[in-house]
Symmetry: D3
Subunit: 290 residues, 6 copies
């Protein structure tokens, strides 16, 4: 039986000898990261995994010989949502260390390009720091990307696609997430429960404090979800359709395919030590020597 390294994009379905092959092929590793948390009365708890994993699998199908999709990091940082039943929080230090252990393991085995493909807003600062540490403490390159940001690459996409108000129509269990989930797993949407929901502080119309998936005020307090949302819906899911979900899916996959294809073989930038005399001790914090 020949190696499946070039044709299989699910990391966990390879054997260890095939991982050696995949390393040789320079495959890019994509790690879907999300959260198990409330998404209103109409969406299941797994939205933040279903979306990035669905897109990652789309890229996998398109580019099986170039990428591997890792098993998802299911449990994210979401302590501010604990007033809603079902939400499962990971302390942020634990979460960061967990993902860092994954990227370090991959880097050690020889995978030198890693994408953290995130589906949960409150993971962004955490994963930003994990990607940085991976870059400083291994010889691999790691990048954080939220799937929804790939919709901004083609400047014409969102203006055409989005019908909900800005800011506030696309935030959580919203026009965007609901559309994509309808496309990826429509049977699990409670369609009769779909109802728009306000971010109450957005209604202050303060230029300082407002939030949306595509922007935030310069001084926005991020606190308990239950203090600014009645139902856990932040946005306008009533504008969502499966067809719009397909458009989002196709666009995100297309751009991620472009990105991976470009990045895969781009040589890593080289450090230059600016010390006149080379350091006489190892760099602290487990960082890589220059």
């Amino acid at each position: 039986m020949p190696s499946r390294a070039a044709s299989e994009y699910r990391y966990e379905k390879l054997t260890w000898p095939e991982i050696n092959d995949a390393v040789e092929q320079g495959k890019v590793c994509v790690v879907p990261c999300g959260s198990v948390e409330q998404h209103g009365p109409h969406l299941p708890l797994d939205v933040d995994i279903v979306c990035p994993q669905g897109i990652a699998f789309g890229v996998g199908r398109a580019l099986a010989n170039k990428i591997l999709v890792l098993p998802p990091v299911w449990y994210g940082y979401t302590g501010h949502v604990m007033d809603f039943p079902g939400t499962i929080n990971t302390h942020f230090e634990t979460f960061m260390r967990q993902v860092l252990d994954i990227t370090k393991s991959l880097a050690y085995h020889g995978f030198k390009k890693i994408v953290l493909l995130n589906g949960h807003g409150s993971n962004m600062p955490n994963l930003d720091l994990v990607a940085r540490r991976t870059n400083l403490e291994t010889d691999a390159e790691c990048v954080l990307a939220a799937w929804w940001n790939f919709l901004m690459v083609d400047k014409t996409f969102m203006p055409k696609w989005r019908q909900s108000k800005f800011p506030g129509g696309c935030a959580h269990a919203c026009e965007l997430e609901t559309s994509l989930y309808l496309y990826l797993d429509g049977d699990n949407v409670r369609k009769d429960q779909i109802k728009n929901g306000d971010i109450s502080f957005n209604n202050d119309d303060s230029p300082f404090s407002w939030v949306d998936l595509y922007g935030a005020g310069p001084a926005t307090v991020i606190s308990w979800t239950s203090s600014y949302s009645e139902t856990g819906v932040l946005g306008e899911p009533e504008l969502a359709t499966a067809e719009k979900g397909k458009q989002v899916y196709d666009e995100a996959v297309k751009q991620l395919v472009r990105f991976v294809s470009w990045w895969k073989d781009r040589p890593k930038d080289r450090r230059r030590d600016r010390h006149r005399k080379p350091p006489t001790m190892p760099i602290p914090w487990g960082q890589e020597p220059v």
Copy 2:
């Protein structure tokens, strides 16, 4: 649309209002725990998740109104296997904290019976400690169970089933794991690569130092897998069949169904404070007051 709380056993497919229903129903939460790690040239990296999750789903189908199966804890403690490509390790402190955050979240929402259903040997001490801390730091009850130990409840099962030598025939990527994987996901077994493998120190025939899934010598060094295994196979997968996998699956599901049914409504045992004068300060380490 009626609540799916009683009919859906996949935790992540419920909505937050349905979690309130599930709590009211006293559902038992089952958390499959495993590892992404080498399992020889014939099995994929996901054996330790596929097995316990497969069994948990079997229990879910049989007992949908009594249990919820959580998304799996994919990434386990497996630093000693890092010489084999593909293995992804989580530092054990991080791993324990990660799982503890899950059990604490569940307990906070009102789930008071939690099973850690483990599929990875080296997770056992870690999860034992997590289950203990859950019991000491929350008001829920948490139990650790390795899926293979349910095969020991009926004393007649294993003697009939097992054909490989003891000790050593059932350890890793072995007669047992290969059989179950053949049954659960046979297409992903590289059947032409199945080949028995030795645990080299078992060959010392020391009464002190030997290992098997079903026992270990009283003074067995647990060190780098690559130092006692050539291929990553520890045991006799050549004796495995899908049919034997089905027997294992059926037996494990049957016993776990029995256990959950018994445990679900068993009242929690009550503590008795043995201090003559009640403590005048909170108990340290975040443990629950008596």
Copy 3:
């Protein structure tokens, strides 16, 4: 001697009885956060403190009866800059815990509105998490704000002000930072050393990977500064002037004054517990009970 609580804006210059007065006055606490790190051959190592502290003091002078400016958090997260001499890094876990201890101390004493006014880009994810934890673990409200984002409130300001290219002209030791520093402490600018500097990966013209103080590509690797900068200058300081620095200062102070004035007396939003049965154990991770 009367209490200086209403007239003094420097926190550290009050006495403890005056702090009781300041709490009663509901003063907003502003904590300047920055970093000691290289800013090219023309700027000293303290740019990231001088800028936010300078602005905070401006607000202090304008609004002495409403705010207190704390001593700055000098040492930030900047491990990726260690190839440049003089940079002092704090491990990010330590940095976050350090700032969290400050906000918790303030909250304990009765200050319920806290602004983290940041001057160092790589502190953003860290401080975002600190502000969140403050909101979850105390009864105070804490907000993170980068000083340069206040220049975006008036949509007409930056288009008028900025002369450098986007992206890349305003990033680090750039048109913006150099202008403000020229205004605040011009004598310490080595004016004969001012020279523009490239972010080398910006030159790839990839729609995925680019960076500026006012935006970033959706998949931008954040790695060693010395790998994409020759001199530590990222941007176009040759376009900087003290006069432009004054404009920036005035605008930032004006907007921050507006923000503090609005936020100071805004009542905190109220949580709603969505559990049908109230939790029977404390919420984990030291978070506040609902």
Copy 4:
């Protein structure tokens, strides 16, 4: 005065030059680990140290030129026993790090064979992890052994010796521990207080949930001792005698002597790196390079 390295088995009674001798002699280090915790009304708090240390000293007398017994690790992991006065708990992370620092110090000085000889059940998962980390993070070999497991090497010993019921007769302050303590320090046994005690959940006769020093059900909840024991006695100390304690002592010493003699000069197994291309970065988590 000649070196005492070969004749003294108490590590702490050597001088530093004699430690160099002991390293040269390849002595095996034995670290007795236990706990200060309740053992019913008839036994003192130090049972879990007195037993393994007593046995270790027996081995020391028999094999003074081959082993060194370290000062005991008195304070173990026993948070679940805190409802009983006198019990002293160490948080498990602290406990593991404490013992790991001992094994690492020994390994650094040149001792390459280390036995953690444990006398406290709830230390087992902790010490298992410590032994593993020692094996992964140093070049020494470390093995965990509970003293009671050496009684299982000779299959004929326990069936002859044990009179109490299985499961439950030998668990804690039981037939076994009381016998050995009577032999080692009989004066400190409150003989008039000896009284059998139940593990209340054992009385459920569940095939899933039961416990004994020599086995446990596949799904046994490990929770507060005071919730399943009235007096802190788990087992049948009324069957204990000093004579039976002597038999246990002799057998344990004999087997440990055999083990140490065999293991002392056994060469360490050699790792084989399975990466096709050697790793280009250090292995993470402080593990040893291959």
Copy 5:
């Protein structure tokens, strides 16, 4: 058999019901803390335990109804001595947490007066912090005391007793420690190896940098022992005698008896909250509410 609580001073020799008695008697707990580390060619590795434990036992014999001596904390903080074989270091964070867990356990059970009786110089800052945290995080009182400092209470003792030079004659394995060890366990002193040893930097005669058990310069670098000592002896053990050891022992016991007798029933000082409005949230860091 009557309770031994009043007559036994060894904590670990009580049973749990007797601990209840001891708590009722308000017994003071003494925890000997030390280190396993080199003490030159003439003293064994256990000096830092033998000395404080010997003194504590002396107090126990004199005052059995008022104190309990805990099992010693054998393993201290001594990383700077690792160039000498046999030294066993505990990372200082681990060491502090270990001792804190002991004091917290004691406080929880009802012991409200705790003495950390230290025998190892480099434990002083660590234990100082542990004693402080115990005072802040429990309702007990904890005090750190080095045994040698009790010799300073009677101002006439040391001038009469000491023959070695100041500074430097009494530092480590010196006139003082050797005398006391000769008295407590003379057989284990290698008398033919006793030889004075220099602290080389003391020979600089700098007023800033020098060290002795009874003082230190205001700016003394504390670094690797092996960099300022040839043999590990810091001081003048040639001046030591068993008789002088007895004098030291008697004096230390006498003063400690006085201290314990005075402190045992001294009421704890009461806190006064200086906040005009009482805090509205718990005090952070696990500290006790006012």
Copy 6:
């Protein structure tokens, strides 16, 4: 413009190329460490920074070509003072790690002599441990010095200068601190509020338990300030004058100048490995290899 490395003593006012110059010049780094905490009704919260920084700047002016003064570590360890408003505490583990990151950064860049100049009593044990770890984990030398201890170098200074009682007159917000603050920043002293304050337990006249900046009893409990002080003043500030502050300042600067001048070029002492066979693994805890 020539390099300012030799003429500027404020570290943060240099550019990165100038830091290379300063390293070449072998400049000594001085890090003022303190705390933001209550100092009675007459002194502001910043006494513990103003004092050591003021002295350090004095040394800087005198010796600009030999030292660099770092930005201060404002936030210290002061949990026991939290009953007084305004005090800001840093958990001691965080505090130690924070300062250690500073010293490690400096050492990495090539500064091999570092002084922690402390102004806050409760930082002493913490900083002692930080200085030690710097010495063990880098190739630099680090020394802790409290500014008030430099007044003890000239044995004739304090007897002449001090008018307040011993012990107790100089402890906190006392004769000494008030004098120096009057000299350094007299306008911020509330002169009408100056009033002596007792350390209530000093009044016990116990030879075991008393405290002063210049000594402490051998068994002094260090607990909540508010439990032994009414106003936060510990000592006799009524004896303070600006003139006495100038004397203190001059003396401290003079002695620190002497110390830095002596220490700057003193070669580091060399370690000697006492292992007969060189260690075969790295020294643990991140310590430097011998």
